[in-house]
Symmetry: C2
Subunit: 119 residues, 2 copies
């Protein structure tokens, strides 16, 4: 049975999502590629298990990487269809496309939630 | 419930497996990386669903790629722990590490079996 992941209610005045693949166009090879990095697994896992808001900016994750590198990784996750990003002024925030991924790739997010970084 | 994949009995005089990660050392990010290519998904899916022998050489797959490219892809699958390769004389044959992957990443192989190449 799939785990219940943390989802929080949408705030009012939500911006439109940035461009992303439709759920029918999600490709397993692209999703796997997006999840083939421990940094990106860390991002998705933290969103799944620790979200405190509807979506989160890169600052929330506390990742020790240059902003340009983080921007690249968050974009890769969105373009593969793993996350949805919205632009709030100067800031982009991400959430996991839980329903879409569960519909197309059942069990995939459970594997991400169960993942632990290499010690 | 995990699907039952095709496994065939081991022939006598089986060579030792080529170097591979132990089941406890399998890393989700490495496995995802190995499965982030439609060619490698094709290989693993065919082994899961259509195996006719214990393991198969690259010729069996009927892939229209140069041998050096195929050698690279089969090696990438083995080094990530997705497949086990054995050397039979001049030929290497591969099988999927079904039990190991089901133990560490339940449901992953079902996603591969359900995958279809982009039309």
């Amino acid at each position: 049975m799939p785990a219940a992941f943390k989802t929080l209610p949408a705030p009012p005045g939500l911006p439109e999502p940035l461009p992303e693949p439709a759920v029918a166009d999600l490709r397993l090879e692209e999703v796997m590629g997006a999840l083939s990095s421990s940094l990106r697994l860390t991002i998705v896992r933290k969103l799944l298990l620790e979200s405190e808001e509807f979506d989160h900016s890169c600052h929330w994750f506390g990742l020790d990487r240059p902003k340009s590198s983080l921007t690249h990784h968050f974009k890769a996750l969105r373009e593969a269809g793993v996350t949805r990003q919205r632009q709030y002024g100067l800031e982009r925030r991400s959430q996991v496309r839980i329903d879409d991924l569960n519909a197309r790739f059942p069990g995939l997010l459970d594997l991400v939630a169960a993942w632990t970084p290499q010690p």
